[in-house]
Symmetry: D2
Subunit: 191 residues, 4 copies
């Protein structure tokens, strides 16, 4: 599998670990390559936020990551939905994977996302680009109440005010066109 | 103020307590009567739910009330938005008023409601009727994590499975046509 | 009634025309003043858009208005919901009022708005300010398929690309903080 | 490919027609079988409706189909999203495929669906079952303004009032648990 230069390390697990025999939900590199070149891949993404006692968003969390080329980039919590895995479980798994087990996310009571984002490997089809694949992502804004300790490939979770998160400079640090996506989903929570 | 026979006691406070001098948000009976007969009145309503660790609704809470005539009726958390009061504060105030201070609601991070409900005093305009007024209500589904101790005019908060809440028999116990509304807002959370 | 310097002419009718006797939905100046100083006033707002054959927003329409002081300002379609008037009728009435009878809006099939906006006369409570009143507005994005001929107090409907509508310079021309609101509701339609 | 007894004929095309050489979006039977057994498959579904001049739903359209065993069943417009295909195009393609070219759907201006539905081949994981696959479906309510002429494998589009569509008898005729789904998405449009 060739990883495009703008790509992030896989946060998803299956493909960078040995495939356990007999689990149909895990794909080896060849299988993943086939899937990514032939069907849209379902993702969940989450923007972690902190809220005040009335539910109003006070802080937005963005992952800071280093690309294989050493560039710093901002990212959402993100990952594939596996075969047989409910969307809620995938969302929780990726939140735990990216924010650590003490983040205590308030999982949404509805599956309706804040936005549906389409990523294409070829530019110009939508606002969002993923060189690896055609992905369709259900994007949620998820309040977290605990402390976040990102996995090794994320350097930190940076918390900032909604205003700072929406500044042009910050939006441009998000990969794959997710600056526009962050604007859209924060809009849904009145930011 | 004449209360229609199907009406519930006011859960809202202002009108059944002495108006504090100088607070423009409180209306005396005459003022309330004027408002109710001349403009649509903005309400918030909430269906309290319990959710599992993944956010899925496991239980639905309905208030059990006794009408002035002694009929038992099911109700939502409900009440007016006051002058100068943000929607979030009104929602929190009515949740606390109807469920007690230990309910610990997870306030929504978005103002977008699960449904907008229109109540008219004259039948046939919408599904929903309120003999007292033309009201427009922002209806939310709100997870609560604590214990609920309803105010005196509500006999109890009855918790039931989504299936039981959606049974025809239960829906018909909700006043003002709110059976259809409960169906609609539980639909938004996948029930 | 004193109109604040930043205020737009009323697009709503009742208050700048003689009140017809016996119609409870119309308020004279004194009644309107009372309502505006004592209860939140329910509004509908609409951002007219043009869409392509697949529903994607291609153009955003903003009203260009002149304030009483002669300043140019951008505005949404906007107006009060009257007593006894369903939200859909209010939305259609204001669309027709502000865009003319040949705009042919595609009315939304759901009452769920793209955003709920709160305006307060006192600054600092929310992002949005209305010196005249505490207003709560259901904001819709409404595709129009015909030609728009604004009423006399709007100079024109300016059509522009979503990118141009979201430019900082354009957002700052919207009154009452509606620049942030435009960003939020265009986010809901993927712009 | 073994088709489960409760399954509907594919409305999607690729798999029951010869695969054109060189189009990565089309899957042959073996490839489709692989995909369906290893990753969640992205679908779009639509409930066609007729609306009045104010956008209110007046009629609901359900496809009447005959299963291979000769049972009559009710269905939504439904089908896969192909590799490289935007969600809007997939939705339009399936609407045209199932309703004919003269249906003139009013495509949604937002990608946000009325509901996200999860289908699993194994019962008990969600409300919805699809024996063929794990599918995740973005479900839209789509007003149509023209005349509907369903393809050969659908016997007709049956139009009925929202009340009739929501009757228990009708809901039970929908396959895969879509009775609950119809209730949920009609709830979003106030039915």
């Amino acid at each position: 599998m060739v990883i495009g230069t703008a790509d992030l390390p896989e946060s998803d697990g299956p493909e960078d670990r040995p495939t356990p025999a007999g689990n149909p939900a895990w794909l080896n590199d060849e299988e993943l390559h086939f899937v990514r070149s032939r069907v849209p891949v379902l993702y969940v993404e989450a923007v972690p936020v902190r809220v005040d006692g009335l539910g109003k968003v006070t802080d937005v969390g963005l992952l800071l990551r280093s690309t294989p080329e050493g560039h710093l980039t901002r990212a959402f919590v993100s990952g594939r939905v596996r075969f047989g895995e409910p969307v809620r479980e995938a969302l929780f798994r990726h939140l735990e994977n990216d924010l650590g087990p003490m983040a205590f996310p308030q999982m949404p009571s509805t599956l309706l996302p804040a936005q549906v984002a389409e990523y294409f490997p070829m530019p110009g089809i939508s606002q969002f680009v993923d060189e690896r694949q055609h992905a369709v992502s259900l994007v949620y804004v998820v309040p977290v109440t605990g402390s976040c300790n990102p996995r090794q490939d994320a350097l930190e979770v940076t918390w900032m005010s909604p205003e700072d998160a929406l500044a042009d400079d910050m939006l441009s640090q998000l990969s794959g066109g997710r600056g526009a996506l962050l604007r859209q989903v924060l809009g849904a929570v009145g930011c």
